[in-house]
């Protein structure tokens, strides 16, 4: 993962980039001489990259900008030409009209036949001409595509990849309507259990080896390979071994066809029915950017959304599959006052009255670092008014070498910058527990945590005069609450998280929340306004902009400036 910062205006301007002048489709373009390879190291710019810079898409299967180049699918073959050089003077030979004479690449033993080169692995040279739309290029693509489809089962109607399959897309753009192939197809293993989360259909595979390269070079688990030979080539793990690391599901995204499928998503939903919402993973402080796929208020999958400042194009399996809780049957769906169903108007009115009379210093707020920055900010306002102690709950586990952070809270830094927590999360929890035990703290407001797990047991909760709890799922703290305010999952609301490296990222709402639940920031806004008398915004945008004025780390920020990829702030 590169640590690229947000494009900040460099004071002296970027260093001059050495460029080459070439022609793409007859248009003269200047392209950098080198471009970053899959590891970010500068390498000679390839024909494929040059075409992309010229706005021409060269179809490809095995090439992926974040994987080592393999050059095996041949789909990116393009016809090209280079200037003819005079052997004596080593200068380009000119045509009669003064233009540089170009020699089109041809077969050495058959000068009438154009010879393509693979765009992904052929470096450009000065004066080169690339013909990505020439008849010869088109013919080569048709032939490659036909060859790739020879043993493909064409079971698109029941294939999970249908709708986001490069075989389908390129067949539409570059394929032929009919196949000349009349022989029997080679049959290969189907429904191969490659690992706990991956199912492989070898007949659909086009042997691009993206999965092999990802496993070996990105995940560091050299578990996959190509076995057998010729038409019987098959992707496989070694017998008796499983493809099981925390990043296996990325191979499903990488697979340009329907060979690698997610056991979780397989046969569940046609992809074209999915609504895509830009969001952020909540499973750790890395804050991988994700796309939530949902249909009619049901989340069906998370997929990584490329952000080179955070997660590149990948995410871990644990984070990807961590969405089932959103639709759990036992979600808190009702406002409860001492265990009885109530409504928001009553609860907020009663709470306003009670909180207005709370003696200074007799309250405490424990707000999860899984709440959004805006919610933490509002809770901090409330705490300031009440003179309350505040804290969050730490979640520390083992980090890995790729993406998983040791901090499993998505917004620990959000809790820090808003002042809910200082430095080490949870440092003030013993103080709060002691205060409750001593009877000096009689009001406790808990958002998104089960405090019985962190030193404030049911016996202490029973001593409180007022226990206000907002959560998503039932737990012992919810059970002990005088007021239960049902909250929303991140995909049911908008907000921001500040990740472990200080990247402030927004996420959007994908699905409606169940029952009477409301986004916490909405009802907190009402409550905080009623208790503190402070207002000035009516929307998430307004709230964020207000927060940006109050929180020094966010100075100068606006909701609209966060974009899809977030911004890095100094923390």
């Amino acid at each position: 993962m590169s640590n690229a910062e947000t494009p900040a205006p460099a004071p002296a301007g970027p260093p001059p980039v050495e460029t080459l002048t070439i022609k793409v489709d007859g248009r003269t373009v200047q392209v950098p001489k080198t471009m970053p390879d899959w590891q970010g190291k500068p390498q000679a710019t390839t024909m494929l990259q040059a075409c992309a810079l010229a706005g021409v898409d060269v179809p490809h299967y095995c090439y992926h900008p974040k994987l080592p180049i393999a050059g095996n699918c041949r789909m990116c073959l393009v016809e090209f030409g280079t200037p003819v050089m005079d052997p004596a003077t080593r200068q380009p030979v000119k045509n009669e009209d003064g233009s540089v004479k170009i020699a089109r690449s041809v077969l050495p033993y058959e000068p009438g036949t154009p010879r393509g080169a693979i765009g992904c692995a052929t470096p450009i040279s000065p004066g080169m001409e690339i013909y990505p739309n020439s008849p010869a290029t088109k013919q080569m693509r048709e032939a490659v595509l036909e060859s790739l489809l020879i043993n493909h089962p064409l079971d698109c109607p029941i294939c999970d990849q249908a709708g986001e399959c490069k075989l389908q897309e390129y067949s539409v753009q570059h394929g032929q309507a009919t196949s000349q192939f009349v022989e029997a197809k080679v049959h290969k293993p189907k429904a191969v259990d490659l690992g706990p989360r991956i199912m492989l259909d070898d007949e659909r595979c086009i042997l691009c080896t993206r999965c092999i390269r990802f496993a070996k070079d990105i995940a560091g688990d050299d578990a996959l390979g190509i076995v057998n030979r010729g038409s019987y080539n098959t992707i496989a793990a070694a017998p008796g071994m499983k493809f099981d690391n925390n990043y296996t599901l990325n191979t499903v995204d990488l697979c340009p066809v329907g060979a690698l499928t997610s056991k979780d998503f397989r046969f569940k939903m046609r992809v074209w029915f999915l609504k895509e919402t830009k969001s952020v993973c909540t499973s750790c402080a890395t804050g991988c950017n994700i796309t939530v796929g949902s249909r009619e208020d049901t989340v069906h999958r998370y997929e990584p959304r490329e952000n080179d400042a955070v997660n590149g194009p990948w995410m871990c399996d644990a984070g990807r599959l961590n969405y089932k809780w959103i639709h759990r049957e036992d979600r808190l769906k009702h406002v409860l006052i001492r265990g009885q169903k109530s409504n928001w108007a009553t609860a907020l009115k009663e709470l306003t009255a009670k909180l207005a009379t709370v003696a200074a210093g007799s309250a405490a707020v424990i707000a999860s670092a899984r709440q959004t920055t805006e919610e933490l900010y509002l809770l901090r306002q409330l705490a300031a008014k009440l003179g309350a102690l505040t804290d969050s709950v730490p979640r520390t586990q083992q980090a890995d070498r790729l993406l998983v952070s040791a901090d499993r809270n998505p917004n620990s830094n959000g809790a820090r910058v808003t002042g809910i927590a200082t430095g080490e999360l949870g440092a003030r929890l013993p103080l709060i527990a002691a205060g409750i035990r001593a009877g000096t703290i009689t009001t406790l407001i808990v958002f998104g945590e089960d405090v019985t797990q962190c030193g404030i047991g049911a016996d202490l909760l029973a001593r409180l005069e007022l226990l206000v709890v907002s959560d998503i799922l039932p737990n012992p703290t919810v059970a002990a609450a005088h007021y239960v305010l049902p909250g929303c999952a991140h995909v049911e609301k908008r907000g921001t998280f500040l990740n472990g490296k200080g990247r402030l990222q927004k996420f959007l709402k994908g699905v409606e929340a169940p029952g009477d639940t409301r986004p916490e920031w909405e009802f907190l806004h009402e409550l905080v306004h009623a208790v503190t008398g402070r207002n000035g915004y009516t929307s998430m945008e307004g709230l964020f902009n207000q927060m940006a004025q109050d929180v020094p780390a966010f100075a100068g920020l606006e909701w609209a400036k966060l974009g899809d990829q977030g911004v890095t702030v100094s923390i």
């Binding site: 050299d222 996959l224 390979g225 057998n228 030979r229 496989a236 070694a238 008796g240």
Partner: protein, 159 residues
């Protein structure tokens, strides 16, 4: 029976590894040696090779499945390789192999090496044995036989 490579063989292979710029390059030689010793390449042999050469089992398994000369099951005591490349095919090697299959109770329609249940014979089609002038050619273990008639073929089985 536990898989165990004799110390002498292991020492020989360790020495061999030093001849290559990278350990992985010795993979094929390991597999040849292990097949020579055990008669076939078992999953344990693959795992052992991978461990010795700092590879993953899949790296070795790819090789074993790529080359037809590597066996993953034990072969018969007598291996009968019938050439099916052009000269031999024209000279009737198809009928020759069918004959062997029929005699030994094997399926002539299966195009993979087949071993009799008693483990005595393995019959398989192979590509050119480089003796086209004497087609059809059959190799019995390491012994090459040319111009093999059906009667000659039978003699192999009775020897």
């Amino acid at each position: 029976m536990a898989f165990s490579v004799p110390a002498s063989l292991e020492a020989e292979l360790d020495e061999l590894t030093t001849h290559y710029p990278v350990k992985r390059s010795a993979s094929l030689m390991y597999l040849h040696a292990l097949q020579e010793h055990f008669g076939f390449i078992s999953p344990e042999a693959i795992a052992w090779t991978a461990r010795k050469l700092d590879l993953q089992p899949i790296n070795v398994y790819e090789l074993v499945t790529f080359y037809p000369m590597f066996r993953q099951e034990p072969l018969g005591k007598t291996q009968i390789k019938v050439c099916r490349t052009l000269s031999c095919a024209l000279a009737g090697s198809g009928a020759l192999r069918d004959h062997y299959c029929k005699k030994l109770g094997l399926d002539p329609h299966k195009h993979v090496p087949q071993t009799t249940p008693d483990g005595k014979y393995t019959v398989e089609f192979v590509e050119c044995l480089a003796d086209c002038g004497n087609a059809p050619v059959v190799m019995v273990n390491d012994d090459l036989r040319g111009k093999v008639s059906l009667a000659e073929a039978d003699r192999v089985l009775t020897q």
